[in-house]
Symmetry: C2
């Protein structure tokens, strides 16, 4: 298998009601195996569109993976389109469906429901094979034509993932690395390009430069030994600003560093509303070094829970260096942590003023070396401001604990 | 303008390193205006691929919006591909670029950097026009050929959004509604289809059914009066289980209900790590009813901050009805809130046991009607378990405060 095309079916994707994620998941896994994803396409859930997708790619790619359109409702048309394309009828695969039913035999309500949608959920095109569903209730299907293996799976992400792992196990085994990610802090993307031209311009490498304030991520692809060489160069040229090898994200770097130093961390969040805690706990096993986060959205809770002085809130306001420092110190204390980071700012769209416009965010870091604060004017809308604030807070915390 | 095609350029999208979001944003806005998005395509950042994209869609859609490939680095090839397609050279648009530069005149470091990438960032194909960038440093470009308007913009989401709002202002004005979203709780998708066949099968409507435990969202599209009729029917058939009109999400429904009742809410989170707070504060103006969330990941912090009894933790464990109830009561107390919801569970992949497998999550709800708890066995991986837990917690909180 050398190349792949990924497609998703669903009007909810073309109308913006849902964000497609299966193709992204699969692209990452194909990529890690050196398989080139030629195209990702999102098409509507009309039968002709699905048939046209099959005609467009069969014979032109080694594998075509389709997600969506296999549920029990009127807008689920993949099975009919595949049958039409193959020029055959549909037949029930009762044996596979019975295995799904057996999983809910102890739940009469769910059993009755699942049985009631046997038609169409058990229906498979006569010229296709069943792909069993270990995680849900819709069967998938697969067939090979003109050198292209076509696999059609339900769109529900964890069903899609369970089924593709079962169908293409070779994609999910670990082998020699062909991709490296290097995350560099506080450096504009063009400076990075200027500082490591030998990496950027190496004919054996493909380097993507992905800025996401305050970090820039380099994705370096190529033969394993050249990738390792490029990684080494990059690490040495950006010493002190680059996350250690093996850290997949800022949150990951914080947890790894905390584990290494045997310390505990905590947060105090206002405008990020819990997203820093959310980012740290996204990583399994975070509980061994992350104690918690006090989301104190109201001034009263900053005072009552974190012990921010009323005087501070009155004199400097909640969005201030003073408040950020007291929040961080408060979080360190109440969580019994060694280090804490705080975030307090104006995410917008309202709440800004001349002196503190929307995007003004104060960060506090408290730890064994004392407490300090930093202010950033973050651009973008509410979501953007919050996302950037989360990353900046994690970067500040990481820098402090590795001092 | 009747139909549109959205494309994104970037190897980082095809390798799974980044999730594409601009097309989703634009699809939602086009859709709200009754403009049909025919296709979303993600292509690699090779010049030939970009030229092939242009050839494929020019003459076949009213508008083609392309994002990405306009930065200053080696992998930014959109401007060269557009020039090649149009059969012309590139010329600098210094006037537009100088306006961008003027924005950083007070920041010598940023000014010098921006000036140093004038070539290529100011370069525009001779047969295209400039699209100014009010939010960043790369110029966009546009041209019309064979009835297709092509607009190429940078991939950075907030630049993309600012520029497309400026180019297609008519898309972003409010007018008659053509899409309604109805969110129904605790009802399997097939039951919904069976209960409102007159809506699902109406020839003038297009209905998408999008399950996301514990809710199912119906996206209803069509002429405004038929959509309103469908909304009314759905609301009356699912009374008590349907979020009120105007609530865009469970978090939104909680805030609206809390505002209506003039009460304050708070949370206590363990396995969701702050994501419930994150969801509530995603909505601007949440501070008037949301006091905060105590993220207590360690047992010690559950005891110290929320006042969960040591006896409870020892006897029943942190993942128990008893702990969930005490967490909710503790959050209500420390935040001075009228209602609070708590979440404590095993998100996995580790930490599960025979009696409490991965996916076991306890929820507590405390309020003026006392405290109660609920347990769910949530399927999926860590991320999936956490996402479902967030939605379930918000649903429980909403149901309680509207009692």
């Amino acid at each position: 298998m050398k190349n792949a095309v990924l497609a998703a079916i669903g009007d909810e994707l073309l109308s913006g009601a849902r964000l497609e994620r299966n193709a992204n998941f699969m692209a990452g896994n194909f990529h890690a195996k050196g398989i080139n994803v030629k195209r990702i396409e999102i098409i509507s859930d009309e039968e002709e569109e699905i048939i046209s997708l099959l005609s467009r790619w069969i014979g032109k790619t080694d594998v075509l993976i389709i997600s969506g359109g296999l549920g029990p409702t009127h807008d689920d048309k993949t099975r009919y389109a595949v049958a039409k394309y193959l020029g055959c009828g549909l037949k029930p695969d009762d044996e596979s469906y019975d295995r799904i039913l057996a999983r809910v035999k102890d739940d009469p309500r769910r059993y009755a429901y699942t049985e009631s949608v046997r038609d169409p959920q058990a229906m498979i095109p006569e010229l296709a094979e069943t792909v069993c569903n270990p995680a849900g209730f819709a069967l998938g299907m697969k067939f090979t034509r003109d050198g292209t293996k076509v696999i059609a799976l339900p769109g529900v992400p964890f069903e899609y993932e369970a089924m593709i792992r079962q169908e293409l196990p070779e994609i999910f085994t670990h082998d020699e690395r062909r991709t490296a990610s290097v995350i560099i802090l506080d450096t504009p993307e063009m400076h990075i390009a200027q500082k490591i031209p030998e990496v950027i311009n190496h004919s054996g490498l493909h380097v993507s430069i992905l800025p996401a304030f305050p970090q820039v991520e380099l994705i370096i692809r190529g033969e394993p030994d050249i990738v390792s060489w490029a990684e080494e160069i990059t690490h040495s040229k950006f010493e002190g600003l680059v996350l250690p090898e093996g850290s997949k994200s800022l949150a990951d770097a914080v947890l790894i560093e905390a584990r290494k130093k045997d310390i505990h961390v905590a947060c105090a969040e206002s405008c990020t509303g819990g997203l820093v805690g959310g980012a740290l706990t996204e990583i399994a096993g975070s509980s061994d070094v992350f104690n918690g986060s006090a989301v104190t959205y109201s001034n009263e809770s900053k005072y009552k829970i974190l012990g921010v002085k009323l005087d501070t809130l009155e004199k400097f306001g909640a969005v201030s260096s003073e408040c950020a420092c007291e929040m961080a110190e408060g979080a360190m204390k109440i969580y019994g942590a060694d280090y804490a980071v705080s975030i307090t700012g104006i995410a917008g769209p309202d709440g800004g003023s001349e002196s503190k416009p929307v995007g003004t965010v104060w960060f506090g870091v408290a730890g064994v070396n004392g407490t300090h604060s930093a202010m950033k004017n973050l651009p973008g809308k509410r979501e953007e401001v919050r996302t950037r604030a989360v990353r900046f807070a994690l970067a500040e915390l990481w820098k402090e604990i590795r001092r």
